[in-house]
């Protein structure tokens, strides 16, 4: 640490000048970007998230750009690649905004369709007076995705708000949309304790699954004195079938970084670490890019924006281990070790990464921070329920009509999410159950989905909030199979350190498979329950403790699906 008292007045002046120039640069950049956006009549937003890219989004983007060019529309039309637009199952998605006209979204866009959109719709719209409606060919109109469906209207976007209208690779766009204003506010006007107070007041709880109050965590960490303190972003989204965090990193990396900067300032951290799942190359690329930009513009490094706050960031990849979502395992992994959890205490805030005081927050948690600071704790706390404030992003997948990324206020019912936003079950089938919390969560049967999503109510029915996976199952899906799938997953992902999880999980899976194969007996089901109890009680970490959840909740709500597969023995046999 630099002893600031030793700086000469000349040096201080020099530093102040650098900081002032940095601020000026940012403001200029925001202004120029806003002006640039104003200049165009037409904005074509093309989703460039992993999902839409996988569906061909890259070539759609190219087609849009080249069509604009070849039709000499560059002066009037701007093509913007964006983060996730939400309705991933219908991607690649393209949204067109023309001054004076209602925005239009196209689904399942192909390169050919992209060229047609430019030619038939954009070019025509520019030529046609605003009042005059446009005639659109059937070919195109078949691909129009109405924006007034509940999927879009019922959502409340906080974390996802910036994503679908801005280029995640551009710092200019982020600041033009108000980015880093929250950081400025914090550095210029708030003491660390005031930041913590604000976050506490907002009621924000960790979005990684356990729901620990974020402000409280920061407060604990802020009270520890250490030579070095770390702020870690847990981006090791492990729930298979959930991709909120990857989309957030891809779609709004600066928001996550800004959230981390604010948290680091509040707890007094010196270095930040992003631990990102290796399966998310795009998220990694975008975050690396954001870090580079932030460094370049003085948002990372020494004396950030002239505040005297110094903070650097490192980015590291996971290597395929679900258990590394657990805090102590994640830190072990960052240290270059096996990702095995260790007993607590000591807690990470006391002795974490490399033995230093560390605070770990999940991606979505951090993405909420700049919004809370900018709009105030009261605004945030006005959304949600008693004990669960704000919104929650879910990855709505499975047998649902409109699958994708959705964000709703806490307290929204599962039924609203599935039936309204998701448009109900696909192919006219009947809903059977919804699973939240991934492999650590549980099934919620159809007759209980009027349940409001919030940490406590989900727990009360034997599931958990989790990180935000929400899988819809229809009447044809086998509950026993899905339970076997989840348990198989956790057995694969058990670190192997503690006996209850390592052997218990494996033995339970053998019994479950036996039952699934119609070779099991009532006694086997009893043994499953017995192992579940031992695992819940004696496992070292959350992975082992919660691994039985999918099995137990399916046994509780769908006993008949198990019974139907059992071999009758003893008194049950006729």
């Amino acid at each position: 640490m630099v002893d600031e008292t030793k700086l000469t007045p000349e040096m201080q002046e020099k530093l102040a000048k650098v900081a002032a120039a940095q601020r000026e640069n940012l403001e200029k950049m925001a202004k120029e970007q806003k002006e640039l956006a104003e200049k165009y009549d037409v904005h074509i937003f093309c989703c460039n998230s992993t999902s839409c890219r996988s569906a061909g989004g890259e070539s759609v983007l190219e087609a849009l750009e080249s069509a604009v060019k070849s039709n000499e529309l560059e002066e009037k039309v701007r093509v913007v690649k964006t983060g996730c637009m939400g309705l991933c199952s219908l991607g690649p998605l393209v949204q067109i905004e023309i001054k004076g006209r209602e925005p239009v979204m196209y689904k399942k866009v192909t390169p050919l369709l992209a060229r047609l959109i430019v030619l038939e719709y954009v070019a025509k719209a520019i030529e046609t007076p605003k009042e005059q409606p446009l005639e659109i060919s059937e070919f195109l109109s078949e691909h129009i995705l109405p924006l007034d469906i509940p999927f879009f209207t019922k959502q409340e976007k906080v974390v996802l708000s910036n994503m679908c209208k801005s280029n995640p690779e551009s710092l200019a766009e982020y600041v033009a949309h108000g980015g880093y204003q929250a950081l400025k506010k914090v550095l210029d006007t708030m003491k660390p304790e005031e930041v913590i107070e604000e976050i506490k007041k907002s009621g924000l709880r960790g979005r990684g699954g356990a729901g620990f109050p974020t402000g409280l965590k920061w407060e604990f960490a802020s009270k520890v004195t250490d030579t070095e303190k770390f702020f870690i972003c847990n981006a090791d989204e492990g729930d298979p079938g959930a991709y909120m965090d990857s989309c957030t990193l891809e779609g709004d990396p600066h928001a996550v970084l800004e959230g981390m900067l604010i948290g680091a300032y509040a707890m007094g951290a010196t270095t930040g670490w992003f631990y990102i799942r290796a399966e998310y190359p795009l998220a990694v690329e975008r975050m690396e890019n954001a870090i580079r930009q932030a460094k370049k513009f003085g948002l990372l490094g020494n004396n950030i924006l002239g505040s005297g706050f110094n903070f650097m960031v490192e980015l590291r990849l996971g290597a395929g281990a679900f258990v590394c979502g657990e805090e102590t395992a994640l830190m072990a992994s960052l240290e270059g070790k096996r990702g095995s959890p260790r007993p607590r205490p000591p807690y990470p805030v006391k002795s974490g990464l490399f033995g230093k005081s560390s605070c770990i927050n999940n991606v979505e948690t951090l993405a909420n921070i700049p919004k809370i600071i900018a709009k105030g704790a009261d605004w945030f706390a006005s959304m949600g329920t008693d004990k669960s404030k704000g919104t929650k992003v879910f990855a709505l997948t499975g047998r649902v009509q409109n699958g994708g990324l959705v964000e709703v206020p806490m307290g929204t019912t599962i039924r609203e999410i599935v039936e309204e936003i998701g448009g109900g079950v696909a192919d006219g089938k009947k809903l059977k159950a919804v699973q939240t919390g991934g492999p650590s969560g549980g099934l919620i049967p159809e007759d209980q989905i009027d349940l409001q999503v919030c940490y406590d109510r989900l727990k009360a029915v034997g599931s958990i909030m989790g990180s935000g996976g929400m899988i819809v199952m229809d009447e044809d899906d086998s509950i026993v199979d899905i339970a076997t799938f989840y348990l198989g997953f956790t057995v694969d992902e058990s670190c192997g350190k503690c006996a209850p999880c390592r052997i218990g999980g494996y033995q339970m899976l053998q019994l479950l498979k036996k039952v699934a194969d119609r070779k099991g007996t009532k006694e086997d089901v009893e043994k499953i329950k017995q192992i579940a109890h031992a695992m819940q009680k004696a496992s070292l970490c959350g992975l082992g403790m919660t691994a039985p959840n999918p099995v137990l909740s399916s046994l509780k709500f769908f006993p008949e699906e198990y019974e139907e597969r059992l071999i009758k023995t003893g008194s049950d046999a006729e």
């Binding site: 007993p343 670190c495 350190k497 209850p500 390592r502 494996y506 031992a534 496992s539």
Partner: protein
Amino acid sequence: MTMIKARIDNIEVEVEEGTTILEAAEQVQVKIPTLCKHPDLCATAACGICVVKVAGRPNLIRACCTPLDNGMEITTRDPELVEVRRNVIELILSKHPNECLTCIRNGNCELQKLSADFGIRCEEYESIVPDLPKDDSTKSIVLDPRKCINCGRCVEVCQNQQAVWALSFLNRGISTQIAAAGGIPLAESPCIKCGQCSAHCPTGAITEYDDTLAVWSAINDEKKHCVVQIAPAVRVAIGEAFGLKPGELTTGKLYAALRRIGFDAVFDTNFSADLTIMEEASEFVERFVNKTAPLPLITSCCPAWVDFMEKYHYDMIPYFSSCKSPQGMLGALAKTYYADKKGIKPEDMVVVSIMPCTAKKYEISRSKDMYSSGVQDVDYSLTTREVARMLKQSGIDFLALAEEEADSLLGEYTGAGTIFGYTGGVMEAALRTAYYFVTGEDPKDLDFVQTRGLEGIKEAEIDIKGTKIRIAVAHGTGNVETVVNRIRHAIETGEELPYHFVEVMACPGGCIGGGGQPTGVTDKVRLERTAGLEKDDHAHQIRCSHENKEVQKLYEDFLGKPLSEKSHELLHTHYVPRPCYKR
């Protein structure tokens, strides 16, 4: 010191801050069962058996790694806890072969005991023992991953206590197993055969390489003249296998028992420990006074340390004492000096040694110097544990035996010879004789207490009539690096040497805590065994090696003088670098 007050099973308990629930419970006579926690080692928190309830906490808490907190209300037993523990044991048993009757640890296996305590009477879950091969490549210790319960003790010992990094975990989940890096044979790993893993293993997953059958057939071979030697540390530990307390001296009974099972002569490694001192103290004086070779002088009687040095600290070779270990010296003399006197051809002899050590099995063939009699000097090296089994098998009522004496020529020993068995003992014995060599008189106080105790590294300055000798004693290879690095630093920079004389023993506590000793060693046991040897030292009239009559006679009749040509031929050895991969 902050004290913590809490209640365990409704009994008030007060302990120092940082004491775990498991340790605190022992103070109120509650033994919480555990399979993975060993008093020597950091808790791995692996087995999940030591779970207890803490009032106000929804989850069960592991007693082994949770410090007691003020006001905690702890329940260590109730039907649910018993149920959970039993279930976890049943699960562990399902992945452990049901081979107790044919297992080397039958009767002293921690898993077997726990299973008995919990009254487990059936196999609750289908057996899922993986088909994994044994690794006996070192011929010193044997790894049987099928019997491993993944408690992590051996890895903790090997990586952290011993800093050897031979053992590690491989794979994850149900496939997790212990193995050397990437699953290569242990013999190709940094393993120094210290056997601390085997001494800490709760089951039969890591054991000594069993040479008892070969020794039985040697004994039963009438054409062979079979002699045996007993290392210092064995006599205070073997009794444990027969129900004696650690540290009880059984030398005389051991001589008697070994004769009864058929050895033709019973010698004592303590004799050759005295001889080692004659050679090593002479070597030290040579280097210190006559500067014939560089200082510091580093002891070489621990084969695991020699192996470690040759692999990772071979720049220390010039400082190593060229003396063979007492085991090696006795082997060489038995097949030359003794064989001559008895008129027996060395090839008709079998020399067996009983050692507290698994690395001694490696030492007997480690270089061509171990064949100085023309044939292999020591044929078999047994651990204390193996000999205890042989004695039991032979039906001898060990505890009831009358005490006997060792055979002459290679049997007499002094107090200095016997203390080779604990950390600092070699140094102390050497100092007694070096003092005499330098000054011509014995030191007034023979007890060099600075060398004693279980501190990992002991440093002192010894005054030999005005001449200051700086010494260091390190035990547990985890402590060696510090000492070696200090020496290295001084040599590189030309600064004054931190030490003139250094003793290293690979096992914590020295040989009394050796990897071949009865299992269940803790610091308490180490101190008790040490006390046994100290008692033996003090019980001897003669407590200096140079006063050993048989040693004196050996020099008169055979060797000439210390460091003579003959000595070099039979009692000294060479070292070569044996680089191994990064540990």
